[in-house]
């Protein structure tokens, strides 16, 4: 299954890649692949913006606005006057 195309905030600067392979290990949707000892962004539209790659990229070659793609969380955030929050730990039951 594929979600909306051309919407994600994922940005990758191959020039900063040190070839550690972390992004290819943590991404649950195979957005990155190793090519010639560097990571290549091969399936940007499969990105769900979980932020795992960026957090595990020591040289900071990957940037993404990480968040949870959760409509209920966005509505909760609006009602609470804060940002999107899929905060299930406060007694409300979602995710």
């Amino acid at each position: 299954m594929r979600y909306l195309a051309n919407v994600v905030t994922l940005e990758y600067d191959a020039g900063l890649c040190t070839g550690c392979t972390n992004c290819t290990l943590v991404c649950p949707h195979a957005v990155f692949r190793m090519e010639d000892k560097r990571a290549a962004l091969v399936d940007r539209n499969a990105c769900m913006e979980c932020g795992a790659c960026a957090r595990n990229c020591e040289p900071g070659a990957i940037k993404v606005r990480a968040g949870v793609g959760c409509a209920a969380g966005v509505i909760n955030g609006w009602l609470a006057g804060s940002g999107p929050s899929c905060d299930c730990s406060d007694g409300s039951s979602c995710c």
Partner: protein, 355 residues
């Protein structure tokens, strides 16, 4: 209901001066009942085990260390795949939330790993310096920072616990398949109960309001109206909610469109069409205003319900969800609002299809 009976504990393992509880690898009937209840959102927000270090089998200082969340379902899943093995399990305090959701919030994260490893004196318990962290914990964990802060290297394990034995046997190597998150029929179906329970309160309130309002009409208020208009209206509303919550997740890959709101609207049109055909073929009286009203309300409700399933899915991005909400919320709201007005008008002008 943090588990205090410790039916899942099987004695202790001594590590120098400390005692570490040993986890049973066989799940009991009680464990299975607990999982079932959690799937129905019964006590789900507090279904946890105490954080800290645990043992599986008779681990030695060379045995692997597996990191987990303190959601009981997460620990159950992990220990059940480790039968016949020897390992350490470091359970983080994620407030009883599963690994992936907790990682998104950061409670399953770098700081908690470092804190928990130090609190357990892990560097004295094991001779190696590797932590196996579930891959879905990665959104909250910076492997290089963990290494810097406590000296332990993070090895990202497979997405699914059932792949752990193969991962361990292959020398901590995951195949590409083990690294992919799937969203198969079973993955989607187990989420249906929580979807139903989460929306049930609002759905029942609205259905009750429709039931009572159905009595309003030209003769002010009548029980005949409650029975003839209110009851079928409440029934159709609840049916739509249940069908969207249950059929939506099941039919997800086959419903047209990529946006969940579109998939839900299509499902709603199918539901409304089926209900209309049923009403006609059974000869139920149906006011014209009400026919049009439900033609708008049912797809709007179905669209909204399935849009809210984005949070439970495994492949939607926040940017995508914001985009589809910006486009679909005004349409859903307008359709539902106009539908409601038409329904109210129909109470006073009940002309239409009659048997």
């Amino acid at each position: 209901m943090q588990e205090r009976s410790y039916a899942w504990q099987d004695g202790v393992v001594r590590t120098g001066t400390d005692e570490v509880p040993r986890l049973r690898t066989a799940l009991s009937t009680r464990d299975r009942l607990g999982s079932w209840a959690a799937r129905w959102a019964i006590g789900r927000m507090d279904y946890s085990v105490a954080p800290g270090l645990y043992a599986v089998g008779d681990p030695t200082p060379e045995s692997p260390v597996l990191v987990s969340a303190n959601y009981k379902l997460s620990v159950d899943r992990l220990r059940s795949v480790l039968a016949g093995r020897h390992a350490w399990v470091l359970v983080l305090d994620t407030k009883g939330i599963n690994v992936w959701c907790a990682a998104g919030k950061g409670t399953f994260g770098t700081e908690e790993i470092v804190r928990r490893a130090q609190a357990a004196g892990l560097e004295r318990v094991v001779s190696h310096r590797t932590l196996i962290v579930p891959q879905l914990g990665a959104p909250g964990v910076a492997a290089h920072v963990v290494k810097r802060e406590c000296g332990f290297r993070v090895a990202y394990g497979p997405v699914r616990a059932e792949d752990l034995p193969a991962f361990l046997d292959a020398g901590m190597k995951a195949t590409p398949e083990m690294r992919r998150v799937l969203f198969g029929l079973v993955d989607r179906a187990v989420l249906i109960p929580v979807e139903l329970v989460t929306g049930a309160k609002a759905a029942l309130l609205i259905a009750a309001a429709l039931l009572l309002l159905g009595g309003v009409g030209r003769d002010l208020y009548s029980l005949a109206g409650v029975r003839g208009v209110g009851l079928p209206s409440a029934g159709l509303f609840l049916s739509t909610f249940v069908l969207a919550s249950a059929l939506g997740p099941i039919l997800l890959p086959w419903l047209p469109g990529r946006a969940f709101a579109v998939k839900g609207a299509v499902l709603g049109v199918l539901v409304a069409g089926t209900a209309g055909a049923l009403a006609l073929s059974c000869g139920w009286p149906l006011a014209a205003f009400h026919a049009v009203a439900w033609g708008l309300i049912v797809p709007a409700l179905s669209s909204f319900t399935l849009m809210n399933f984005t949070g439970a899915s495994t492949y939607t991005s926040l940017s995508g969800v914001l985009k589809e909400m910006r486009l679909s919320l005004p349409i859903q709201g307008t359709a539902a609002g106009v539908g409601l007005v038409l329904w109210l008008v129909g109470l006073f002008f009940p002309f239409g299809v009659r048997p």
